[in-house]
Structures are given as structure tokens and as C-alpha cells.
């Protein structure tokens, strides 16, 4: 009975995610597209929860749902041009090229899915019993170098942002 | 020190939390207005000589006086109306009154439902007031 319920919940969120992802590209109002994108992020987070990756789901909500979606919505609202978004989108005129790119992307993703065994992985709680503990353990032992490199990259980005925001005239 | 002002402000509001409140429960509790409040007019009819100075002083032509002669050929008041719709309650009429018959009172509930009620018949008002005082005396 629990399996049926979780299967149903998976189906609901999978459909929600795919449907809102479809609406992102088909919606006529570009702000609606951005809002549906946020909904897609939330749906993906729910799917992560169903795969026992709760930490990843929370990060997905915090980073994508909380920050990235806001940035996109905000950017779209500030740069809004009147009229139909599909007309102003240059890519929608080349249907053939779009179809080829989409097909190639789909084929690549399908290939990855079908060549990875087993393709539905759930998190194996080994070291500490919680996903958070596992992730932090891995990050500070096995993957400490990539972790630190990412931290340095973020620091550089932050310094760059501050310099950009400060402007040239003020620094002299 | 940074933040001193914030603490001080919190202290003041914190003290106010327990201080006595200044709210008046109006319809149940009438406010005690200062004695020189000019919010209503009162005419002491026996003192009035119907000289008409008040009517002349009024900047807005609020006061209308009619007078007649009595048996001693003396001028007496027959009618005194104030159109309070125009009245500013500036008090000039009371200052001008030579016999100190007209004065301002602190009565303030002057709102009426009909425009005509804004015409105050000061003699009627005096009579009503006098009879009320009579009753008060009888009861007391």
C-alpha cells in the first residue's frame, strides 16, 4: 500500500514537473514562463525527496526555487517587452533547427539513462546515517579539492561582483 | 555608544506599556474641557438689552435680533436666533456684549440631523435650560 501511494505521488510530481516544463516553452506570456520554471524547480525538488535525496531537495529549493527562479523572474519583469513572447523569440522561427537540437538532446539524455545501470538509484545511507552527514563527509575527505576549488571560484565571483558594483571612478 | 538610542527608545515604549492610559471612553465619560473652550453659545435672556451690538460685530451675520417695546416704552428682546451653520465660534459677539448677557460654553455635542436645526433659538434654549434648572432645584 505504501508503494502504491509513493508511486502515485511520484506520478503526480513527475507530471507536474513535465507539464510545467512544457508550459515554460509554450506559454505566450514570458513572465508566466518564468513562473512555470519556478514550479518546475519545485517539482524536481519533490522528485529528489522521493529518491531519498532530501538534502539535495532542500538545496534545490533554496538555490533554484529561492534564488535562481527569483533572478529569472526579476530579470524578465525588468526587461519586459510588450506583445507575444513567441514573436520576439528569434529561435522559434527556425523550426527545423530547433527540432534537430531537441532530438539530439533527447537522444543523448536517453542514451545516458539507458546505459547507466541501475538507472533508478536511491541514496545509500552508509557512513553517518543521514544524507547531510554523508555529503559533508565525502566533501571534506574524498572530494575536498573540488570543494575548495568551488569555494575559491565563488570567492572570485564575489570579489568580481563587488568590483563591478563599485565602479571605476570610485576606486581611483 | 552605538545602539544607545535604540535602548533608550525601547525603554520609553516599555515604560509607556505600564503607564496610565490617556484614552477617554467618550460616550460614557464626558471629557472635561478647559473653561475657555468656545464650542457653544448661551444667552442670559434677562440680562440682554437687545442693543444689537452683537449682531453688528458678527463677521458672518449669524445673529438675528428682533425687538419690541414694552409698556414703559423700553426696548425688550422678542427674538434672538443664531444660524450656527455659519458660526465660527470666534467669540467676538461675547466680547462686544456690553451687558455680558452672551457667553460661550463648553457644550460641544452640536451635531444635528437636519439643516434647519442649525438655527438656534436662543430664547427657547434659555427657557429650556431654566426649566431644567428649576427641576434640578425641586429634586434637590
Amino acid at each position: 500500500m505504501g508503494d502504491i501511494a509513493s508511486g502515485l505521488i511520484f506520478l503526480v510530481f513527475a507530471l507536474l514537473t513535465v507539464f510545467s516544463a512544457y508550459l515554460v516553452v509554450s506559454s505566450k506570456n514570458i513572465v508566466h514562463s518564468a513562473l512555470f520554471l519556478a514550479l518546475t524547480f519545485v517539482g524536481v525538488a519533490a522528485l529528489y525527496v522521493l529518491m531519498n535525496a532530501d538534502f539535495l531537495a532542500a538545496v534545490q529549493l533554496l538555490v533554484y526555487g529561492g534564488a535562481v527562479a527569483i533572478m529569472i523572474v526579476f530579470g524578465v519583469m525588468l526587461t519586459l517587452r510588450s506583445g507575444n513572447a513567441q514573436n520576439s523569440n528569434l529561435d522559434s522561427r527556425n523550426a527545423l533547427a530547433g527540432a534537430i537540437v531537441s532530438l539530439l538532446t533527447f537522444a543523448t539524455l536517453g542514451l545516458v539513462v539507458f546505459t547507466t545501470e541501475p538507472w533508478r538509484k536511491t541514496v545509500d545511507l552508509s557512513a553517518t546515517g543521514t544524507t547531510t552527514g554523508d555529503i559533508s563527509w565525502l566533501m571534506l575527505t574524498k572530494y575536498v579539492v573540488p570543494f575548495e576549488v568551488a569555494a575559491v571560484l565563488l570567492l572570485v565571483a564575489m570579489v568580481g561582483a563587488i568590483i563591478l558594483a563599485k565602479g571605476v571612478n570610485d576606486s581611483k | 555608544m552605538f545602539g544607545k538610542g535604540l535602548i533608550k527608545g525601547l525603554g520609553i515604549t516599555g515604560k509607556h506599556l505600564f503607564n496610565r492610559k490617556v484614552t477617554e471612553f467618550y460616550p460614557e465619560q464626558k471629557p472635561v474641557l478647559p473653561p475657555r473652550t468656545r464650542s457653544s453659545m448661551y444667552l442670559d435672556v434677562p440680562k440682554c438689552t437687545a442693543c444689537g451690538i452683537c449682531a453688528n460685530t458678527c463677521p458672518n451675520n449669524v445673529i438675528t435680533i428682533t425687538s419690541g417695546k414694552d409698556e414703559n416704552n423700553k426696548r425688550v428682546l422678542t427674538g434672538y436666533t443664531m444660524d450656527t451653520g455659519r458660526c465660527l465660534f470666534c467669540g467676538l459677539c461675547t466680547e462686544a456684549c456690553p451687558s455680558k448677557a452672551l457667553h460661550t460654553t463648553t457644550e460641544f455635542e452640536n451635531a444635528v440631523y437636519v439643516k434647519d436645526e442649525l438655527l438656534w433659538d436662543m430664547m427657547k434654549k434659555y427657557k429650556a435650560d431654566a426649566s431644567k434648572q428649576e427641576e434640578g432645584k425641586d429634586n434637590g
Binding site: M1, G2, N29, V31, H32, L35, A38, V42, D54, F55, A57, A58, V59, L61, L62, G65, G66, A67, A69, I70, V73, F74, M77, T130, T131, T132 | L6, G9, L10, I12, T13, G14, H16, L17, F18, N19, R20, K21, V22, T23, F25
Partner: protein, 350 residues
Amino acid sequence: MPQFGSDIFLLIANWIRGLFGANTYAADVVMDIVKFIMIYVVLVLAVMVFVMLERKVCAWMQLRVGPNRLGPRGWGQIIGDMIKLMGKEDFRPDNVDKWPWALAPMFFLGITIMVFAVLPFGRGMVPVDLDLGIFYILAISALSVLPVVTAGWASNNKYSLLGGMRSVAQMISYEIPLVFSLLGVVMITQTFKTSAIVEAQQHVWFVLLQPIGFVVYVIAAMAEINRAPFDLIEAESEFGCGYFTEYSGLRFGLFYLAEYANLFLISAVAATVFLGGWQGPFLPGWLWFAIKVLFMVFLIMWFRWTFPRFRVDQLMHFGWKVLLPLSLANIVLTGVGIYVYQLIFPGIGG
């Protein structure tokens, strides 16, 4: 051994579970539904109390008596307000973006209610005791910017849009010190679990170990839920009512409810993380929790009715130049403190 006073809710829960006998799956489902309904009931009741408390506290601080007509000493006013709000016309302006406009208040309230699932209301009274507790709270409440900005944009009103844009700037800026201020406590307890954080405060509350964290948390959380003196996004004197200018009736009521639910939320998190949650002598746990939450709510109301509103640039300066360095310094201090503690008492923690 359950004491009657402190574990009354646990006894009720066990009784409901007992009704289903061996069928634990059905019992779980029913218990989840009961928990959801209870969260909603507690939330609505608490919001009613808070709204009334806000009006009374505000009045007292201004030497007034506040609402004094309905009910004993005016405390029945909230019932009248609610009926008034429900009786109002749900008016939709012509040129609003229909669906986002209609859905924004619902999402705003829904997101807030979701967070209540992990709060420990008493001993063993966590609706869903997630391993991610605190992190879940932060992740979900990060979403609440989106409905605000959507409401502002969909209202098709320049003041609403300004309010929405300010909300983005403000809520994203203050989210960072908010997260960092809670991190100190997580470093000490080494867990995100709210129940474990409360357990860890049996002997000493974390407000004593993390005073800087507590101060930063209270300030950042007040900014995060847009309460005065950080109510820039609904600054009446500057642009009407901010993002909910165009809302009326029950939709406005949802925003109103969500606003006070957020107040409840940040007070409850502060009580859980810094003030020892349900830990306390004599009284039952859930009563201690309620007292601590009420204390936090009163504190925040006190701030609101004392301090004037920030200016936008002051807000940004304060957030990025004062709170963020403070919270970072707090993390470094906490790390050093934990290291020194482990040197002195080897074998504890780690």
C-alpha cells in the same frame, strides 16, 4: 512514564493510533491528517491572538487602550474583524494577470504552513521530525519571495511592482545573515534536527552561547518577514500598501494571515533554536514553548512600535555591511570555541 499535564497531546495521539490496532499504515495516514489539521488550527488561533496582541501592545505603548468595544475589554474585536474581512467583496481589478494574481496569496500562506511541519511544539510533539529540520525551514521559507514578487507584478500597479521589487532586494539580502546566524547553533549541536537541537539545550540555552547569533537572527528574521522597522515593501507612506495594494476581502485576509503566521514562525524558530524550545521546569513542555513564542512575539512587537522605518539604502548597508560580517565573525568564533572546548574536554562531541 507519561505525566498527564505535559503529555496530554501524546496521550491523545496514542489513543488515535490505538483505534487502528495493528494497521499501522492507516494509523500513520490518519495521524498525518490530524497533524495537518492541528497545525492549521493552532496557526489560526495563534494568529488571532497575535493580531489582537499587536493592536493592544501598540495601543499600550502609545498610552491608549486599543480596541475596547467588543467583548471583555475589547478582546473580542478580532472575531468582528474576521467576520468583516470575510464579508468583504473579493474585488478583482480589470487588468490584473488573473491566475498569478489569484494564486499568489494562496502560495504565500501555503509555503508558510509547510514550514510548521518541523517545529517541536513540545516533548515528542514534532509533526514531522526531519533530519534536515532547520535546513528545511530555510529552504522552504526561501520560496516565499516568489509569491510576493508575483503578487506585486500581477497586480499591474506600479506601487505593487515597486513593493515586489523591494521585497526581492530585501528578502534575498537578509536571507544570508539569517542562514549564517543559525549555522552557529548547528555547528555546536552537529545536527539540523529540531528535536535534537532542543534536547541539546537541556542545561544551557543557546542564546547564552550564541548571543551574536541570536541578535543577528532576530534582526534578519524581522527583515525576512517584512515587519517594521523593515516593512519597506508595504511602506504605506511611500506607496500605498506595497504588493497587496490590489487585494481585498479574503485574498487580503490570506496575506494578513500569512504575515502573522510568519511572525509565529520566526518566533517559534527563535524559541526552538535559541531559547531552549519546550525545555523548562514545572510547566508542561508545550506551555513552555507557547510562553517562549509569546515572549519573542512581544519582543518583535516592541521593536515594531519603537523604531522608525529604515530607508532603502540604510537597509542594504545594514544588511550587507553590518549583519553579514557579524554573522561570519560569529561562525569563526563558534568554530574556534568548539575547537578550544574539544581541546579542554577531549572526547566530548566531535
